[in-house]
Symmetry: C3
Subunit: 345 residues, 3 copies
């Protein structure tokens, strides 16, 4: 995991300005650069750091002109941001590795087909009659039930539990201990105050390029499917109830929760710990603040919502500002009442 500046410049097709023999073993932000790290300068807002950074090398744009003396080694490339991203990805492959093969003991059920490039970690369990695509990685202690389809290049980390009949697209990632397809929370109240379990017979469908965070739970539908559309990103410890549908390219931060049968639109951005009532609809492009509580269906696209019960963001800020001054406001009303009373006497 150690390279010379010259090797990295060669990889990126860049030109060296300074010492090409320096050893690089980590990547860093320019403001956090230390000896042995390489960084980059793309946004000129950070230019000042270039002159003070301790990074051994910094990637800059080909035509960048320094206004002061530079003490670090530069690598000039066509586009410094793109080059650094390329480096990040190569580095990722090195440190995260590419697992392949079947470790033992593991369990691969009858009638389940697998594609080339499979990694099945030790103590992983895959049920019967499933269909596993190419380059799928199933880490140790993951569980995949019966009749599960998993698309190419999908990665299932350690401890993830995927129930029977789940359908998963390509290029998805499931982080450790996520649970997909557990029963929806459905109980019919009985006359004596007890509850009877309503059978949960549907499944979960997860389309391509979805990312599911650690410990996140997605319930199966009562009937039909709970659906997570293409490109959705869920953070850790998110709860998705039965029959929910989340539209394409919506991102949801940690610990948010969505009650049953609610439909979240496309390209929404949902803050952490936000909550959604069941059976409501959230339009495309809605932004929801952290800890907000969405209690009803909203019609207009692209709104920013905040607070519980949620209102428009700017209104919530205005009301919150006065909330802080409520004791003074009450006092002012007290005084007004006193004055009016005095005037009358």
């Amino acid at each position: 995991m150690e390279f010379t500046v010259k090797q990295i410049a060669g990889l990126l097709g860049g030109e060296i300005e300074g010492n090409g023999e320096l050893k690089i073993n980590q990547l860093a932000k320019i403001e956090e650069g230390k000896s042995g790290t390489i960084s980059f300068l793309s946004n000129l807002k950070y230019e000042a750091y270039l002159y003070t950074t301790e990074a051994s090398a910094v990637i800059v744009d080909k035509h960048f002109e320094a206004r002061k003396k530079v003490n670090t080694t530069l690598i000039r490339v066509e586009n410094s941001y793109t080059a650094f991203t390329q480096l990040l990805q190569q580095y990722e492959q090195i440190i995260k590795g590419t697992k392949q093969g079947i470790e033992q003991p593991s369990h691969l059920g009858e009638g389940t087909t697998t594609g080339e490039g499979l990694y099945l970690g030790a103590f992983a369990y895959v049920g019967n009659n499933g269909k596993i695509g190419k380059n799928v990685k199933i880490f140790p202690q993951a569980f995949v039930g019966d009749n599960v389809c998993i698309g190419d290049n999908t990665v299932i980390h350690s401890g993830v539990k995927i129930y029977n009949n789940t359908v998963i697209g390509k290029n998805c990632t499931f982080f450790a201990n996520a649970v997909i397809g557990s029963d929806g929370f459905g109980f019919a109240p009985q006359p004596d105050g007890s509850y009877k379990t309503i059978p949960q017979l549907g499944n979960v469908i997860i389309e391509d390029s979805v990312s599911i965070g650690a410990g996140t739970t997605i319930d199966c539908a009562t009937m039909g499917s709970t659906i997570i559309r293409e490109g959705v990103k869920l953070d850790n410890l998110v709860q998705v109830g039965h029959n929910v549908e989340i539209g394409k390219h919506t991102v949801i931060a940690a610990q948010a929760g969505i009650a049953g049968s609610t439909k979240i639109g496309e390209k929404c951005v949902i803050g952490g710990q936000a909550g959604f009532n069941g059976h409501i609809t959230v339009p495309n492009g809605t932004k929801v603040g952290g800890q907000a509580g969405i209690t009803k269906t909203w019609e207009q696209e692209g709104l920013s919502l905040n607070g519980t019960p949620a209102i428009e963001f700017k209104d919530s800020l205005r009301s919150a500002a006065i909330f802080r001054k409520l004791p003074q406001l009450e006092k002012r009303v007290n005084e007004l009442e006193k004055k009016i009373k005095d005037d009358k006497q």
Copy 2:
């Protein structure tokens, strides 16, 4: 998993009106019916869907009279709702299956007794000196510690972790990755600002017919027991602190949290993401809104509480309505002050 309408009608003791040879492979709500599905009509509120549904067959009451032309095949039965529920349960058995037997490798500790009908999945671990009832199902990668008692027909899904000395009743279900009996959060502050761990020596007792959601965590008591009474239903990612007691037939939605030593009454209905302070009491029949924060003991049974700090539900709605108008309210007070000042001059 494919049956003809005739087979299903035979199973339900119903009469066919239409094509008995149609193939059925799924159940659906009448408004979501597609070719190959069977649905039902019980509540006449949904009658309109009968005339437009694409479901291949619909179960109706024996004496139901259609007011328009019906294009789908009908199965007439004594009670359409009961018949459909019967079908749901049969379908559930088919798609969820009934696992039995001991898969290898798995670990069954010394001195642990098991009843007939056991399923012990691969990579499941059961500790020593436990007592496992009849028809208990322990799925792959579940962990059951030492001295654990589990009643008949209880199902422990993949990745559930049950600590030593836990006592579990009959007919319970634990969904994937739930954790039962981890240490309570008890630390004694030391003079230097650090904390010393207080040994957590109690256990968790879970009575009959309890359902515990995926990723839910229940801590053991410091001394004595954390107790989940008969028929309680906990959704996913719920947190139950040490020495908590939850009364019979209380249901708690996802991501709610109960701090240590709090007692929740019977037949309460708790919304998602609600939070409870420690050492308080919540009376029987209390309803708590989503995201509410219950900060103190309430005395009266059957109240609806909402907001943080929680107040009665209708009061919280009224106050929230004015919260939204706080900027106007402040403006009105400004104007009143101005008018009074003007009057005085």
Copy 3:
């Protein structure tokens, strides 16, 4: 697990007053004492219970003078609280046990060194090139990735997942199904509204004497490290985002969440379900109420914060008190307006 009062008195170096032959099999609080339990009286606030307790024996201070008739057996010791704590710890060792040895099947990767006293439970997986200290306990179905360092006496419970390159100190405890080092939630928005994953290349560093609750998730840094300092205690289902740093001896209750790059100071006390925006700083000694939402950086140390957006605790209580009366306040403003209007006419 059954001892006589005489045996316990011998262990504690105490003097018996009453029946030394009674059998003890559990510890209890004095107000919950039952036959067969031993309790203690230290804080005289609880003295009344001494005269009514059903505990078989009670540990008291050497010079304690009873004001009424005592029916239980007393054990007199130098310091009753210290003696009881000693008993608790001995009892803990007995009921929680001290596991040792390597159960099979388990996986210990190449190049990983281990110290004496190791427990590696069945179905546990430890990756390559790691370094495991002395007396480390890794319970069944835990996962430890590659290049992970774990200090002496650290305990990793069942189902915990620790990603590659994590560094863990001495005397730490990880409760079941905690996840350490999953990817940070970093996605770069693309012109078409989709997101591209930003490689997460950093790690997690956990210092000595840290406790991590069941189901808690800690993300790795994008670059650099997410850092949990010495003595930090995290409860269950807490979320810690990428590049967060939590200062020494800070305690965080269940279901709290901290967004990326936020720095929490030392000796803070954070309530359950509290949320923190990303990229903010919380000073040393800050106290945060349950469900509070910390939206900005605070400068002053030792403040108590509450509410969303959080304000100082006493202000939040005052404002909340008036929030409850908002309908009346609005009514009073209505009446004032009416009076002023009447006066003018």
